[in-house]
Amino acid sequence: MGCCNADQGRAPLKLLRVESIEKRFGGLTALNKVSINVEKGKIYGLIGPNGSGKTTLLNLVTGVLRPSAGKIYFKDTDVTGKSPHAITKIGVGRTFQIPRVFPELTVEENVLAIRRKSISNVRVGEILDLVDLSDVRGVKAKTLEYGQKKHLELARSIALDTELLFLDEPMAGLDKSMIGATSNQIKILNKEMKKTLVIIEHHLEELMQLTDYVFVLDHGQKIEEGEPDAIRSSKAVHRAYFGE
């Protein structure tokens, strides 16, 4: 199933393989036999109407929830049901839909508390520059505005230095200028820092411009996948969003 042509005939490295994953909450099936493959170096979109199972899939991959059935492999290592901190150490990072910063720590301390050993103090400064938080580095995170908290989460994710990064609605609740800044930061993450990204987002136009490949969920099932142009013209996707 992969998304893109192999570079010069070389098979692209499969970073993440989700195989027939299922999640049931009592009688409710939140995800039903969903499979996705993520290849190294690309930007993926994960879209679908509210309640389609996007965040549930993200929670399963990052260990926040345990799947009811199915398998998750990161670089061919079975990570199904592992704890979140173990999965992060293996190389999968994430942000949250509603930003979860460490409130009593300053912006800089938020990053210092969790950075990998490979991330020096100078690098922490560069990361804060990248997400436009240098001016507030000494400010307690709880006093930041909503958009700044989103950027701080992004800074923390960069400091974790994971190969694969899931961003849960990074543009939600942001104004036009901040959406533009976030788009640029995502491009830098992918092109310069060589991160593979999976982005959950409701700002579909911005997402389609950023991504190489898109997965579409609806009612807990994968209804479509493909390159952005193919998704735009997909009848199944239109049906999911706008009905018959």
Binding site: T62, G63, V64, S83, P84, H85, T88, K89, G93, R94, F96, R100, V101, F102, P103, E104, L105, E109, N110, L112, A113, I114, R116, R156, L160
Partner: protein
């Protein structure tokens, strides 16, 4: 003064647990009492020399207290506090049933002099203070404050939350056990009353008065409360003493939740900013 050393270490143990990792113990008398009981049991029942008994007693309190605490780390702070309180009450009844109201007295061929107790108090107090200082000035403190701030966010940021919570519980029990051991040696006696509920609430009141999360908080808090609960009974009844103690804690909590050290730091910051302006 010796009460002050024991209480300051005891308070620092509770403060480490709550102010740094966000875990709440309403039964901190558990490791404190275990340190006291283990030490005296070793001298009395096994006829161990005093110093090795104190070392083993303190470590025993850390292992048993930390182990019991570790079973509660997944609970929310309020429930965790009540769970530990209940564990401490189990020990209250066990110690009452096994050793009765008279408890146990220390057995030592050469009991330490008051001077020895004073200097050993200074030494362990200094050691506990230094350990707290090291944590306060390390990256580990940031990790703990991240856990305190948001368990899930810390977890997905690669911090093994359960492990670090258990480590802090062990360190806290080690400090409380040390305080309990010292208390038992200088009073030469321990009984079931060491596990009573007011004894568990003592370090909480002291930390509130001194200032939670500050290095000097447990020192100032235990100095003030030690004076209230040890000196006032000379003139007043215990009921009046504890009434005054309660009023002091409530007033500080209401007017200055950061405690006396927090107030002093704020004043000094204000002062220095005025100097800069001037």
């Amino acid at each position: 003064m010796m009460y002050f050393f024991a209480y300051a270490i005891y308070t620092a143990s509770w403060d480490l647990l709550y102010s740094y990792s966000g875990q709440l113990s309403l039964g901190q008398a558990l490791p404190f009492g275990l340190g006291a009981f283990f030490t005296i049991m070793l001298t009395q029942l096994l006829k161990f020399p005093l110093v090795p008994s104190a070392v083993v007693g303190t470590l025993g309190a850390a292992v048993v207290g930390g182990g019991i605490g570790a079973t509660t780390i997944r609970l929310k702070p309020g429930y965790q506090g009540i769970a530990i309180l209940l564990f401490s009450q189990v020990l209250y009844w066990i110690s009452l049933i096994v050793y009765g109201e008279e408890g146990l007295s220390i057995f030592s061929a050469a009991p330490p002099s008051r001077m020895t107790m004073y200097f050993s108090g200074v030494a362990i107090f200094g050691l506990a203070l230094f350990a707290t200082y090291l944590i306060q000035n390390s990256n580990y403190k940031l990790k703990l404050l991240a856990i305190k701030g948001d368990n899930l966010a810390a977890n997905v940021c690669g911090i093994n939350v359960s492990f670090h919570k258990a480590v802090v519980f062990f360190l806290s029990s080690l400090l409380a056990g040390l305080g309990g051991t010292y208390y038992a040696v200088f009073t030469s006696h321990v009984d079931f009353t060491v596990f009573v509920v007011p004894n568990s609430f003592l370090p909480i009141g002291m930390a509130i008065v001194g200032g939670m999360g500050f290095l000097g908080g447990p020192i100032i808090g235990s100095a003030i409360i030690s004076v209230i609960i040890n000196i006032l009974p000379i003139w007043y009844s215990l009921a009046v003493t504890y009434f005054i103690y309660g009023i002091v804690v409530i007033v500080i909590l209401k007017l200055r939740p950061t405690g006396i050290v927090g107030l002093l730091q704020r004043r000094s910051r204000k002062g220095s900013s005025e100097v800069v302006k001037g």
